[in-house]
């Protein structure tokens, strides 16, 4: 996996995500500074760092929930810019799971899962429901399909959110602190689903503090602080032999 870092420029088709010299400001505040990142297909990347370091902002820039002001982002070769067609294509290609789940509370679990396939991909309802049921089975909650999100536990809700994203059949999945809002007892059930997903070869970018998860599935760990990528390495080297002092301090505090 370290080859990814040393290889000069990998062939275009192999790249899922390509970020070059990307900057972002919130008004005066320089939140992302000169971000360079390439993610190959099927690569699993964990992004960690202290709160406010810009890690969530980084992955939110990848599907245009946040707008970057300078630099270039390419997803599957498509450049992310003001062109609505590009944004539309990229958003179909990327699934996202949020810290607060963001399920639609006025729709049942099944309707949550079918909504985008029906309206965006124009799938027939029956087909969309079959797909949804398959994914709900995969996240182990097919029996909750007719309930509303408000009737489920946090862990169940987050698994529905993962199934909802998978229903769009994305090539890339972004996870924005998927377990941070969960009770300790429920973290494992969500991580299990994510490990399954990783083992099946999904390209994943995950912002998380679950270092155990990082060790199990990650191909690469990225450490960020104050808007910059400080260090990136494979998990073994990252945890056993961190290079920068900032990383050492961070690891000593959370492990």
């Amino acid at each position: 996996m370290t080859q990814a870092l040393t290889q000069p420029t990998p062939a275009h088709e192999d790249l899922a995500i390509e970020v070059k010299g990307m900057h972002k400001w919130y008004d005066e505040f320089h939140v992302l500074k000169d971000i360079n990142l390439t993610v190959k297909r099927k690569e699993r990347i964990i992004i960690c760092g202290p709160s406010g370091c810009g890690k969530s902002t980084l992955i939110r820039c990848l599907n245009r929930l946040e707008v970057h002001q300078r630099g270039e982002i390419r997803i599957d070769g498509i450049e992310l810019n003001d062109d609505l067609k590009h944004i539309e294509k990229i958003r179909r290609d990327i699934g996202m799971v949020f810290q607060q789940f963001n399920l639609f509370p006025h729709l049942t679990v099944m309707e949550n899962c079918c909504l985008a396939p029906i309206w965006v991909l124009k799938e027939p309802r029956r087909e969309a429901e079959e797909t949804a049921m398959r994914y709900l089975e995969r996240v182990k909650i097919p029996d909750q399909a007719d309930k509303y999100p408000g009737q489920l536990s946090g862990g169940q809700q987050q698994r529905v959110a993962i199934a909802r994203s998978l229903c769009m059949n994305p090539n890339i999945m972004l996870f924005d602190e998927p377990t941070s809002a969960l009770d300790p007892e429920m973290i494992k059930e969500v991580l299990d689903v994510m490990v399954d997903l990783a083992n099946e070869g999904m390209t994943m970018l995950c912002v998380t503090h679950e270092m155990g998860f990082a060790k199990t599935v990650a191909d690469r760990v990225i450490f960020m602080d104050s808007g910059e990528i400080i260090e990136e390495n494979n998990p073994e080297s990252f945890f056993s032999n961190p290079q920068s002092d900032r990383t050492k301090l961070f690891l000593s505090q959370i492990l």
Partner: protein, 364 residues
Amino acid sequence: MLVHTPHPNLPPPSTSVGVIGWARKNLFSTPFNSALTLCALYIVVRFLPPVINWAFLDANWAGSTRDACTDGGACWVFVKVRLTQFMFGFYPADQYWRVILAFGLLGVLIAWLLLEKTPKKSWVAAFTILIYPIIAFILFYGGLGLPVVETNRWGGLMLTLILATIGMFFALPFGIILAMGRRSTMPIPRALSVVFIELWRGVPLITVLFMSSVMLPLFMPEDLRIDKLVRALIGISLFQSAYMAEVIRGGLQALPKGQSEAADALGLSYWQAMFLIILPQALKTVIPGIVNTFIELFKDTTLVLIIGLMDLLSIVQSAFSDPKWLGFSVEGYVFAGLVYWIFCFSMSRYSQHLEKKLHTGHKR
């Protein structure tokens, strides 16, 4: 192995349930509440019987002239004799069936849409929005062989209901568009919405009505004459849509940002996100506010009296000056108040039912 068995659930203490529990909790929870309960009880005992005596026991129901009213109670004969006028204004009596048919049809359509488990709701909704207004116009005004009844002969409850229904019909969609405009990131729609809302909210309805009936014709070309009722309707609709917009904006703002982000991340377009995710939730949150605006609109229609339209209240008032029926204004006002109350209370009850029906979270 140590197995934890939970304690069995015990019944609650007998003083906290049943009639005694209820009374303790709701009527006599503190000394102050006990005093208030006793005061309220005194007021009910002291004032309710006279009201019941006046309105029912001593009231006069039979007869057709004021001589029938001899018992000292309310003289409902006055209302009975005048009832058709209170309902239809000066609409020709042989054409009443048209009004009854139009409202009856509307009632059936609305019941169809509001009741659960009626089939083909979307077709009925389309019919109500697109075709029914044409049918209603022909029935009320005339055409297709029906004799024309000019709007100055419309009046009473019929006029009140027409004003209120059309006002609501336009105020809600306009309000939604204005609220979306005001929340938009595009500068021109936002500026237009803000100016519109602030302009209409800044003037009293009575001024709007007065302007529409007195000032507007002065500025308009001689040959372009818009009916007074239509002008009042436009005024009421635009005025109430500004209020509606602010109510709905409250609902849009109360929605967590994550909802629109999730919709974006799934690839839904702005309009899809708006109609499938944002508006259903925002409108549900502000049902009390929307119904409040509807009720206000319903009662504000009484202000059309200022421009000489004979709605229910003004036609009741004009009946007081009939020399044959002098001195029965209390009965008239009580009757008009009761009619307004029935309509407003029904709207309020329906909104409560709707809130319960649309509730999808944990029941508390």
